[in-house]
Symmetry: C2
Subunit: 495 residues, 2 copies
């Protein structure tokens, strides 16, 4: 289509283009259905601005001469199209979805997808049975606080978190040998936001991040999102194989070491004191940051676990995350981040960018429960109740599981790591288990490296005792049946 | 230091290294205070593993032969140092802070830093006076809900947000001509998290992001953090200069266009319907995403503003953010994101990575107020109260401001954009204004390009009427005095 515009004329350029095209359509030089050049192409061709062509095309469309079809182009309108109102432009029915051509920076978000599955026997979520949480007490306290200070509802929290909550947390953390001031505490929307904050601030493309293998799936998602190179270090019964980490550090310099030394997720193991010391030495030597994730140290079933890495670190290499949501009030999503120096200040600034601070209401809601005596009693009861469930589960597994299945007895926390025979893929098993109304976390989710896995994680904290007993027996039946089915399948000769 | 190890000996290598160094210290071959090689260097030099040297150095330190000084190195221990217990290693007193050598990915977090300032006359924060918000009503409703369903406290919300809240929001949005299903709504921690979510998912290094100039400072922070190239487009009384955007698009292809078409922050202007249509055309033509930020469309003082961009977009190019925190309950931090198709699904996945979902308690807390009749009445009262404040402020400015000061009368929202004489730098003025117990947002914060600015933003929503009146008069006095002082200064001849 050759159009010429004349800049000497008093007629606006857009109007000239409009008229030139209308002339061509009316004289049938441009047939119905002919594709017009794109705005960009036409603007370039006739040396006018983008906006001029937009205006001309707008007017042509308004007057019914042309039609724009998203993902296809601009066409001379056919008679059939004439009757179609503008609003009826192809929407989702179009096989051309422009959105699919929009690249993103989200390479992996595996965990929250698994999260969507729900079932009668819920071994997936390491969430505590609401029946064990102090809902009634918190409800009364919230009512009291709101009656006294209704303006909590209309007041923003500090970006760093509500000061009275941070003050109370210094007392709570002192019990864990962590000596900090309120100025070194940041309140987050659960531990997940803490991991994300640290990653967005300190991890970028090509940075080396060390994780345990297996590890917490949603942490893998976050480090992948940041473009990190994730180097997994195996776990044994004493936690991360720090000797293997040391060997890795001869070749690589980690930026961040992510670890759950106490009741590791998913295996439930505890890092020995000796390894804790060595891990700190490695961080000092390589000038790296340790991100210590501690969701479960309160929930021990035998001995109290060793002190946190943070409490052994006078030099500020450890960023410590204490989840409180799970053991207090998941509906409030309160996490605690402890760090010092410029590392800490940079994290507070990042929290400002991220959401300008957590809601004040939820921070005020959990505060009354934190007062030490009450918290100690609550946690004590929780330990007893969860230990009963753990023991029951292990007894039932021992009784009903077929041969070749093994597990680690967790010394704390709410997860049990189960090993099926090596030929079993637990992602396939998860699909199969839906027939038994069962859900769990397949091992593959816990490894930064894609591959088949015969492990799975069972959380025993969400179901009440009768349901848990039923669920474990059902799981044993499903396991036996699935192994039988896959063995049979494998035995079938290939014809 | 030349050390040799013998792999044939039955003595462990770490022990051999330990003994070799002790021998040298005792024979004074290594003098007190001598710096030892780093673990990495020594390991390389004598061909042993990193861990072996760590073990040797650990033992040497334990036995008091050496001392490690963070940021300096490892030294043969002096007698003075001998008495220093290990815990007393130099901490913050050290002039060598290893943390300062840790690079980060946080290039700008300007807004939340300004946020820290507080003063008697608070023109900074575009937050609504808690006295105008329905705290007592919400308090009663929360008490009722918690009494009926205490398990809200121990239940996680869906990653996407509580379904009943999303359902109610479809009704609320229908009033704004936005037709969506609950499946196209995502609940965020305030609008800030919405901006951050979109940026982390769709904006990366070198991507072109269009913003208005001036614009909302915390959005600049987020786009800078993502490494975007920000191209600012000026605003006039009809909103973004879409013609200038079109001219830019002849050269650049934007990935994202961030806009506040309705009661733009900070200028309070409204984008005309014509420009809205043109903006959508540009987004369709360039296949870019529009991020429409709508904090204030409910708060209009004259005519109801035009429909949102989202309501004019059948093709899913607009991601719409509706802030509810400010007009309902800032202590709950509830924001709403509306989008469709794969763009939307990717944002939900990113929200999972970010924090696994917003707290359920705060979502349940704002729900009862949303029911339409009640919300309409609340918003109506809010409009009247805020219009009174706006009018009073403008009257006082007209009466008391010195010559050469001008402003735009905002047609909605809570901000007024003030222009001082061109030689005045409003960041300097902010410092000076602290003598008058005044705080406001200096114009420089609102531009992605660093430079001096003679604009500033005044929010008239936070102070009650008597305080606001006092504050505006004080601001006029401060302005006159500052202009006088800077003029005097400029008149002083340079000797």
């Amino acid at each position: 289509m050759q159009i010429k515009v004349n800049r000497q004329l008093p007629v606006p350029l857009a109007k000239q283009i409009y008229q030139a095209i209308v002339d061509r359509i009316q004289s049938e030089l441009l047939e119905e259905g002919t594709r017009l050049p794109s705005v960009r192409a036409l603007a370039k061709q006739i040396h006018v601005s983008f906006m001029t062509v937009v205006q001309a095309y707008d007017a042509l469309e308004e007057d019914g001469y042309i039609i724009r079809i998203q993902g296809k182009g601009t066409f001379v309108r056919t008679k059939a199209a004439d009757t179609t109102p503008k609003k009826e432009l192809p929407k989702k029915e179009s096989p051309f979805d422009w959105q699919l051509s929009v690249p993103d920076y989200l390479p992996r978000a595996q965990f929250s997808r698994y999260h969507q599955v729900s079932a009668r026997y819920e071994f997936f979520s390491s969430t505590i049975d609401p029946g064990l949480l102090p809902n009634r007490y918190l409800e009364k306290e919230i009512q009291r606080i709101l009656a006294e200070e209704p303006r909590i509802l209309s007041t923003y929290s500090d970006v760093q978190g509500d000061l009275p909550l941070r003050q109370e947390l210094t007392v709570y953390l002192r019990d864990k040998q962590i000596q900090v001031t309120p100025e070194e505490i940041l309140i987050t929307n659960g531990t997940q936001q803490g991991i994300d904050l640290v990653a967005r601030t300190f991890v970028g493309p090509g940075d080396i991040v060390i994780t345990e293998a297996p590890t917490y799936p949603a942490a893998i998602d976050v480090f992948r999102w940041r473009g990190a190179t994730i180097l997994p270090v195996p776990v044994d019964k004493d936690g991360m194989r720090v000797d293997m980490l040391a060997a890795l550090c001869e070749k690589y310099k980690p930026k961040l070491i992510y670890t759950m030394p106490t009741f590791h997720n998913p295996t439930g193991t505890v890092m020995s004191i000796e390894r804790r010391r060595q891990l700190l030495d490695i961080a000092y030597e390589t000038q790296s940051i340790i991100l210590e994730d501690d969701p479960w140290s309160e929930i021990y079933y035998e001995n109290k676990p060793p002190s946190s890495l943070k409490s052994m670190d006078p030099l500020g290499h450890v960023i410590y995350l204490k989840g409180l949501s799970k053991i207090l009030a998941p509906g409030c999503r309160i996490g605690v981040l402890v760090a010092s120096g410029t590392i800490f200040h940079r994290l507070v600034a990042a929290k400002g960018n991220m959401d300008l601070g957590s809601p004040l209401l939820t921070q005020k809601a959990v505060l009354p429960l934190l007062y030490s005596e009450r918290m100690r009693n609550h946690v004590k009861k929780l330990r007893i109740a969860l230990q009963l469930r753990r023991d029951m589960m292990i007894e039932l597994l021992a009784k009903h599981m077929p041969e070749g299945i093994s597990w680690l007895t967790p010394r704390g926390g709410v997860n049990l790591w189960l090993s099926l025979p090596p030929h079993v893929d637990t992602e396939d098993f998860l699909m199969y288990a839906s027939n038994y109304q069962l859900t769990f976390l397949p091992g593959a989710a816990c490894y930064p490296i894609e591959s088949k896995h015969h492990f799975l994680r069972l959380s025993f904290s969400f179901m009440n005792e009768p349901l848990l007993a039923e669920g474990v027996k059902e799981l044993c039946r499903a396991t036996a049946a699935f192994i039988e089915a896959t063995v049979t399948y494998r035995k079938t000769p290939v014809v």
